[in-house]
Amino acid sequence: MARLVLSLDGQVLAEYNMSKERYTVGRLPDNDIRIDNPAVSGHHALVINILNDSFLEDLNSTNGTYVNGKIIKKHALQDDDVITVGHHTLRFVDGEGDEPADEFEKTMVISSRDAARMAVPPPPPPPPQAAGAGAGMGPQGAFANGALPKAKLQVLSGQFAGRELELVKTLTTLGRPGVQVAAITRRADGFYIVHVESGTEGDFPQVNGAPIGPQARKLHDNDVVQLAGVKMGFFVN
């Protein structure tokens, strides 16, 4: 369970377990966390706990609420954040280590009333773009570079024979629209060729003389790809 550790001049004064949804911080006696000091406003700040996350909001205090030295109005609390109100500090400890964290659990429903209980004005219209859709996927994301194999195509026939194309992108489109188009996708385990479109239904690219069909086909070193009448060799570097 998350908790707040109240200190003054390095001396711990009290610890508060975040066992309920809202904790007010202020000078007046009706606060959950009361700090009786003239530098603290009557109702200074508010901590809201939702599921495993905690949020801090300044309640228009006279002297402001600071997190790690920066003044804030609203802030999503993270482990070890130090909140300053007046001369006192509240250190936030998220207690995540207490429970096993499986962030990708099944979707659950919570009542929107829970979310609505947060003491904040109705939301402004959200920005049109994705709200962090899939952001932070990190380096394991589909198109992360890294230790992927390197490969190239070399044209073997026609007027461009000898020309090379390094396959550095995650998706490389080849061919001529209206005639035959294919794409080469680079995945963790290698390169695949996929049919995209052709002028004639069912006219698929060929690998080593055999049509690949509608499925993705993995490419191996020295494979010969034939597309829109042009032959290309596939070579792993």
Partner: protein, 274 residues
Amino acid sequence: MRHKGKFRCVGVTDTGRVRDHNEDTFGTDANIGLVVLADGMGGYKAGEVASGITVRTIMGLVKDAVDREDLGQRDEETGLTRPAILLRDAIQRANKIINQTAKTQANCEGMGTTVVAGLFFDDKLTIAHVGDSRLYRMRDGRLEQVTQDHSLLQELVARGFYTPEEAGRASAKNYVTRALGVDQAVEVEITELPVLKDDVYLLCSDGLSDMVEDDDIQLTISTFGANLETLAKQLVMLSNDNGGRDNISIVLVKVLESFPAQRRVIDRLLGMFA
């Protein structure tokens, strides 16, 4: 209203690499321009019961209505279009059925589902959604998320606690704040937008949007946009390559031609004198 030949629709659903069964359901009807996708949740098999009821109910009710009424009317009191009212009412009907089923069948207790549905009519798309299943639009090579999730995370972003970038790293990804089946009534969000020829619309469950970044979805659509079947397969493959931690469902609609409504003769005549 018949839309034969105006759209190409493709749907796929995949269990992913972690779950042992698939709780998603989708439905498409290119003739009337209707697409529906639902991501169910609940123990045992209840998730697919909920998403299945939802897709069947919406497909059935909307098709009946499209066959027998004029969708060009607008409700005088609320200003809502007929497609908006049809989708909303059908979703609310599905909600009641799921809620009732959950109460009366022991192994369906607590089941629920998200839904996103789109109805194409008169060069417009009407979208109704509940929960975190999404609709994206690809136009001129740019992907745009049209629906906003009804999720805790999205609410926190809207309230200013997180920036969208921080939200991607946040822990509370998988809490939806609205779902079908949970309560007697459900609030349905409606969005309407004009449609252009060559637009591609993507409906998906969070098994895609949580696993694949928007930029990667955009690149994949621009590469494979000419071939919806392959595009759908590639998107599923990307989700699975990234871990496939949830069921993945994808519905794609490509607009081949504009589809203005046929005005009734009497309206056209009146229009001449207006």
